[in-house]
């Protein structure tokens, strides 16, 4: 038997490429979270007529870096009676899925790690694993607040996963593919080709549904019932401190960015420029670069929108939240799905 060195080398090179991409995305997520948290504090401060962080570094840009360093050297407290192993593993179960989702996110033309054919299902499937981590954290803490928070979190996350799925099906119907890259390519051209300005009113309803349900999935105000400082102390991560808390925090903001990336990819034309002369005519590496910039600009706008919503709306009650999903978004989403199906089958396909 002889060793097929050529094949082995090819495999090694492929793994090395993926590894490089994986590390790049990890660093990207860390930087995005540092920035988004800072931006959140600036936006909320401006809206509340405060100054916000402005002391650490120029204009306060090093504030979140300082916070991260502080968290890094904080004592790690595991409460008495807690399940030490599960207490330690729970942050990993929450963070790793939030990170692995980024495999299919199309950052730019040819800048997807792997454009999987099952992209949309992959995103919903992987991100649903986090629920288990949250319940584990609540259970392992041996704390009533944690457990109550974990239960609320589980109910909220599972309630809003159905509307997310139903909303994501609308762009899938229109482009005839679950592959996120294909969905983006179908929106190429100008702003009029984006799904947001397509198939009135089904796509607009779906976009709004994805925004609302996604906010609930990402646990941001007005749907931050898992934390609900005034009711549940801090929810499922009450007993967490130091780096383990930082991992939950990281996962939460990574999920918020995933939401904005999904909104951009599915409805706002993905990495395509809004008008042709702003980069649409480029080819090759130049278009990859320009499309990456457009993707990031659009994501930034959606992130600012999310932060704006976060700082202006009051928190909803848990019964209102559950009604919003099961009695509001789910029936609307099902009806929307059928109407869009009829539109696609009888109009678009003709």
């Amino acid at each position: 038997m002889q060793i097929d060195t050529a094949q082995l080398t090819a495999l090694a090179i492929e793994i090395a490429k993926i590894l490089a991409a994986a590390v790049c995305i990890l660093v990207f997520i860390l930087l995005v979270v540092l920035y988004v948290v800072l931006k959140l504090r600036w936006v909320i401060a401006r809206i509340q007529s405060r100054l916000g962080p402005n002391r650490t570094g120029p204009w306060g840009v090093l504030q979140t870096v300082a916070d991260a360093i502080k968290l890094f050297q904080k004592e790690d407290i595991i409460p008495r009676g807690a399940d030490r192993w599960l207490f330690t593993i729970a942050p990993a179960i929450v963070f790793i899925p939030a990170y692995v989702v980024y495999v299919v996110i199309p950052f730019g033309k040819g800048l997807t790690v792997r454009p999987l054919d099952v992209g949309v299902v992959y995103v919903t499937a992987i991100s649903s694993i986090s629920i288990i981590g949250i319940i584990t954290a609540g259970w392992a803490s041996n704390n009533k607040w944690s457990l109550l928070g974990a239960f609320r979190a589980a109910s909220q996350l599972i309630a809003f996963e159905v509307p997310v799925i139903l909303a994501m099906c609308i762009p899938v119907l229109l482009s005839g593919s679950l592959n996120l890259d294909v969905i983006v390519q179908k929106q190429a051209g100008s702003i009029r080709d984006w799904n947001l300005f397509n198939a009135f009113p089904m796509c607009q309803i779906a976009c709004l549904m994805l925004l609302i349900a996604g906010l609930a999935e990402a646990n941001t105000t007005p749907f931050d019932l898992m934390e609900a400082e005034s009711e549940l102390v801090a929810g499922f991560n009450t007993e967490y401190s130091g780096m383990k808390f930082a991992l939950f925090f990281l996962a939460e903001f990574a999920e918020a960015f995933t939401l904005s990336a999904l909104l951009v990819t599915l409805f706002l034309g993905g990495y395509n420029p809004p008008v042709h002369f702003l980069g649409g005519g480029l080819t090759g590496y130049w278009f990859s670069l320009v499309s990456l910039v457009w993707f990031l600009v659009k994501c930034w706008l959606v992130v600012v929108l999310i932060l704006w919503i976060r700082s202006t709306f009051p928190r909803v009650r848990i019964d209102q939240l559950m009604n919003l999903s099961w009695k509001g978004l789910v029936p609307v989403g099902l009806a929307n799905l059928l109407v869009t199906g009829a539109y696609v089958g009888l109009w678009v396909a003709r």
Binding site: F72, I96, R114
Partner: protein
């Protein structure tokens, strides 16, 4: 669709595990460690915790999970339908067939949702 595409998923999972392990171990080297009885007590607004933390939950939570499971299974059917309908509707007959199939499928489930609604199960108490 080749299984090889999922190599990336495997690599990402491993990188994620390594990242979590490295940060936790690195912070273990830097952080202080001096536990005390007060510090290790579970937090209950400053009171001394009473009774076990593992409360008995009511069945309502479980029912929401069951309904979610049912809709998740439904989604497993909706996803391929949504992806294929555009290509499937080559002729008007096929398009109508594809749409009617899903109308019946969703209609039956909507019936279940209406039943649960009328019985008051979707009421958060």
């Amino acid at each position: 669709m080749l299984a090889k595409d999922f190599l990336a998923v495997g690599v990402f999972i491993i990188v994620g595990i390594v990242f979590v392990a490295v940060t936790l171990i690195a912070s273990y080297l830097f952080r202080p460690y001096n536990p005390s009885g007060e510090k290790l007590r579970t937090y209950e607004c400053g009171e001394i915790p009473l009774g076990p933390a593992w409360l008995q939950f009511r069945v309502g939570y479980y029912v929401y999970a069951l309904i979610f499971l049912i809709f998740d299974v439904e989604a497993a059917f909706i996803f391929p339908w949504a992806a294929a309908l555009l290509g499937f509707s080559r002729t008007k007959t096929l398009a109508v067939l594809g749409i009617i199939d899903m109308v019946i499928f969703v209609g039956v489930l909507a019936l279940g949702l209406v039943y649960a609604w009328k019985k008051g199960v979707l009421e958060w108490k």
